[in-house]
C-alpha cells in the first residue's frame, strides 16, 4: 500500500506552561517587535541596522546617553514593580501615572516647605512623603476594588487624569508656579539626589527594592496569599484569604513604589530639578505605561525587570537620536512601545497553545 504523507499543523492546548517556554515566548515577541519597528524605520527611508546602531551607540555611550539611559531605565523599574505586585494578586494597576504624579506632589511639598533642612534629613523625608502620597492614591483604587468591587482598570485611569490636573493646578499659575511660564519653582539645592557612579542614588535604591519585592512575593506569608489570590480567587476565598485586605495592600505597596519614582525622576536628573511644563511632565507620565508591558514580558519577575527596563530605557533615549541625527519624525519611541505591546498581546496565544506539525498518513 502506498501511504500519502503530508505534514499538518495542529493546535494543542498547553496545560502547564514551563518557565523556559514562557521566557522563549517573551524573547521571541521582543525580536518580532524589533523586526516590525525596523520595517517602520525602513519605511521612513533609513536602514534599520544603521538606525539600531545609532540608537544603542548613543544610549550606551558614557559621555552621551548612558546617564540618561540609566535614569530613565531605573524610572521604569519603579513603575514595573508598581505594576507587578498588584498583578501578582490579579489586579490591574494602570494607575502608575497617577501614583507617580502624587509621589511628585508629596516629595515637592516637603522640599518647598522645609528648603533649609539638612540633605541627610530632607531627602529621606521627600522619599517617605512621596511614597505615602503614592500609597494613599493606590490604596484608594485598591479599596474601591476590594471592598466595593469597582473595576480597577477604569478607576485607576480616572485617577491618572485627576492627578494630572492636580499637578497642573499646583504648577501652572498655582502656589508652586515658578518664574518661567508653566513650570514649578526649582527644587532647593539640598534636595538634589546625590550621584553614585554617575547615576542618582535612587537607582541603587530601586535595585534593592526589586530584590525585596522578589523575596516579599516568594518567601513571605502575605506574598504567598497574594499569589494564591492571583492564581485562583476561589481557592483563596476558601482558605480564608481576605481579598479586600490583599487588594488594598498590593495597591498601597504598588502606589508607594510608583510614588518613589516621583523623587527619582525630577530630583535625579540635573536637567529637571523642578516640574516642567504640562506637556513635558505628561510625556514622562506616559512612560509609566511601559511598566505594564515590562511587567507582563518579565512574567511578573521583579529581578528580570531591572535589565529589561534598562534595555527599554536605552531605546527611549536612543530613539531621540533618530530624530536629531537622522531627521526622522518625532514619536518613534512611543511607536516602539505600541508595537511591542501589540505583539506581546498577540503572543499571549502561545501561553495557552502550541502549534505542532504532525505527520498524517492517509491510505494505510
Amino acid at each position: 500500500m502506498i501511504g500519502l504523507r503530508f505534514p499538518k499543523l495542529k493546535c494543542e492546548r498547553i496545560v502547564i506552561l514551563t518557565g523556559a517556554d514562557a521566557v522563549k515566548i517573551s524573547a521571541l515577541s521582543v525580536v518580532i517587535s524589533f523586526m516590525l519597528f525596523g520595517a517602520f524605520v525602513a519605511f521612513e527611508g533609513t536602514d534599520p541596522l544603521v538606525a539600531y546602531e545609532h540608537i544603542f551607540s548613543f544610549a550606551f555611550d558614557p559621555k552621551l546617553g548612558l546617564p540618561i539611559t540609566l535614569h530613565r531605565g531605573f524610572f521604569l523599574v519603579f513603575n514595573t514593580l508598581a505594576f507587578i505586585i498588584p498583578m501578582a494578586a490579579g489586579i490591574w494597576n494602570i494607575g502608575m501615572e497617577g501614583q507617580f504624579y502624587l509621589g511628585t506632589i508629596g516629595a515637592f511639598a516637603v522640599a518647598y516647605s522645609f528648603p533649609d533642612l539638612n540633605q541627610a534629613i530632607l531627602i529621606p523625608l521627600m522619599l517617605i512623603s512621596g511614597a505615602i502620597f503614592g500609597a494613599a492614591y493606590g490604596a484608594l483604587a485598591g479599596f474601591l476594588k476590594g471592598k466595593m468591587n469597582v473595576n480597577e482598570v477604569v478607576v485607576t485611569i480616572m485617577l491618572n487624569n485627576i492627578a494630572f490636573w492636580l499637578v497642573y493646578l499646583l504648577t501652572v499659575g498655582g502656589p508652586w508656579a515658578g518664574i518661567a511660564e508653566s513650570t514649578s519653582k526649582p527644587l532647593p539645592k539640598n534636595a538634589c539626589a546625590p550621584m553614585v557612579w554617575n547615576t542618582p542614588f535612587t537607582s541603587i535604591f530601586v535595585i534593592v527594592v526589586a530584590i525585596l519585592v522578589y523575596f516579599f512575593l516568594k518567601k513571605t506569608t502575605i506574598g504567598y496569599q497574594i499569589r494564591t489570590l492571583g492564581s485562583n480567587p476561589i481557592v483563596a476565598k476558601h482558605v480564608g484569604i481576605s481579598a479586600p485586605k490583599i487588594s488594598v495592600i498590593v495597591m498601597a505597596i504598588g502606589g508607594a513604589i510608583a510614588g518613589l519614582s516621583g523623587y527619582h525622576m525630577w530630583a535625579g536628573d540635573p536637567a529637571f530639578l523642578m516640574i516642567p511644563r504640562p506637556e513635558a511632565y505628561k510625556a514622562i507620565g506616559d512612560l509609566t505605561y511601559w511598566g505594564i508591558i515590562l511587567g507582563l514580558i518579565c512574567l511578573l519577575n521583579p529581578l528580570t525587570s531591572v535589565p529589561a527596563s534598562i534595555f527599554i530605557g536605552s531605546i527611549i533615549v536612543g530613539t531621540t537620536v533618530l530624530v536629531r541625527r537622522l531627521r526622522m519624525p518625532f514619536g518613534l519611541d512611543v511607536l516602539f512601545l505600541g508595537i511591542i505591546s501589540l505583539v506581546f498581546a498577540a503572543f499571549q496565544f502561545f501561553h495557552q497553545y502550541r502549534i505542532r506539525r504532525v505527520k498524517v498518513v492517509i491510505g494505510k
Binding site: 482598570v153 477604569v154 480616572m158 487624569n161 490636573w165 505594564i292 519624525p329 505600541g338 505591546s341 498577540a346
Partner: protein, 293 residues
C-alpha cells in the same frame, strides 16, 4: 449664550454615545474591549489625515473603517487566539497611543479653512445619527432574533452553540461593529468637535465611555441618559463661564470633575443596593474566551 454650550455638550455626548453603544454591543456578546480609547485615537487620526487629503466625508468614512479594522483585530486576538481580553485591549490602546503620535502629530493643527462640518444652528446632525444607531441597537438587542442570539452568546456561549448559534461569528460581528462605532466617535471628535489634531486628543473620553457602559447596567436607554449627563459635565469642566460667570473654582479643579464623577458613579452602582441588579444584568460570559469543547 447658553445655546452654544448646549450644542458643544451634545457634541461630547455624541462622541460618548457612539463609542459607548459600540462597546455595549461588544459586551453584550461577551467581549470586553478596554481599548476604546485606542479605537477612537485611530479613528480620529485616520479620519483627520483622510480629510486633509480627500475631504470631510472621506474623513468620516476612513475613520470609521480604520476603527472597524482595529475592532476586527481585537476580535482576532481575543476570539480566535483566545488572548486575555484585557491584555489585548490594552495592547491596542498602547499601540494606538504610539502609532498615532508617530503618524499624525506631524500634521498637528486645525483643519483647513472651509472644511466645516454641516450643522443645524451649531448642532451636528451626527447627534441624531448617534441617536438612531442607539435606537437601532436597542431594537436589535431587545426585540429581534439576532439580538436574542447576541445576548445568549454573552450569557452562556456553550449553551448558545448547542442551540445552533455560531458563537464565533456573532462575537466577530459585534466586536467589529463596536470598532466601527469607536472609529466614528474618534473621527467625529477630530473632524467636528475639535476640528483639529493635537497630541492625543481623546483626553480620557474613551475610558469614560467604557465606564458609562458599566453603569448603564448594559441598557441602551440608561446609556443615553449617562452620555447626556457626561456631555454636560465634560463641557462644563471646559467652559464653566458660559453657565455661571462668577464660578470661583480654578479651571484645573473642574477638569477633574468628569473623572471624579465617573468614580463616584461606578462606586454607587457597585454598592450593596445596586449590586444584585448589576450582577444579574452583567453578561455572564463577559471577558471569558469561548473554548469549544
Amino acid at each position: 449664550m447658553i445655546w452654544p454650550f448646549i450644542t458643544r455638550s451634545l457634541g461630547i455626548a455624541t462622541i460618548l454615545l457612539l463609542a459607548a453603544i459600540g462597546e455595549l454591543l461588544d459586551e453584550r456578546a461577551g467581549v470586553l474591549n478596554v481599548g476604546i480609547e485606542g479605537l477612537m485615537l485611530f479613528g480620529g487620526a485616520a479620519g483627520f489625515l483622510a480629510a486633509l487629503k480627500w475631504g470631510l466625508l472621506a474623513g468620516f468614512i476612513v475613520g470609521t473603517i480604520v476603527g472597524g479594522a482595529f475592532g476586527l483585530l481585537h476580535a482576532v486576538l481575543s476570539i480566535t487566539l483566545k488572548v486575555n481580553q484585557v491584555v489585548s485591549g490594552m495592547g491596542i490602546w498602547l499601540f494606538a497611543m504610539g502609532f498615532v503620535t508617530y503618524w499624525a502629530d506631524r500634521y498637528s493643527g486645525p483643519l483647513p479653512m472651509g472644511m466645516v462640518s454641516p450643522s443645524i444652528h451649531g448642532l451636528s446632525p451626527m447627534f441624531f445619527i448617534a441617536l438612531a444607531i442607539l435606537f437601532a441597537i436597542w431594537f436589535i438587542l431587545s426585540r429581534t432574533h439576532l439580538g436574542l442570539k447576541i445576548r445568549s452568546v454573552g450569557e452562556d456561549p456553550s449553551t448558545a452553540e448547542v442551540s445552533g448559534v455560531n458563537v464565533v461569528k456573532i462575537r466577530y460581528l459585534c466586536t467589529t461593529i463596536g470598532g466601527l462605532l469607536g472609529g466614528l466617535a474618534g473621527a467625529f471628535l477630530t473632524l467636528t468637535y475639535l476640528a483639529c489634531w493635537s497630541h492625543l486628543p481623546t483626553m480620557g473620553l474613551g475610558w469614560v465611555a467604557l465606564a458609562l457602559v458599566q453603569f448603564s447596567i448594559w441598557r441602551p436607554p440608561i446609556l443615553l441618559a449617562g452620555a447626556l449627563l457626561f456631555g454636560f459635565i465634560w463641557q462644563f469642566a471646559i467652559s464653566p463661564e458660559t453657565i455661571y460667570a462668577g464660578i470661583p473654582a480654578p479651571l484645573p479643579v473642574l477638569r477633574m470633575l468628569p473623572f471624579a464623577v465617573t468614580i463616584i458613579f461606578l462606586t454607587v452602582i457597585s454598592s450593596e443596593r445596586f449590586r444584585k441588579k448589576w450582577a444579574l444584568a452583567k453578561p455572564a460570559a463577559l471577558g471569558q474566551p469561548y473554548i469549544k469543547e
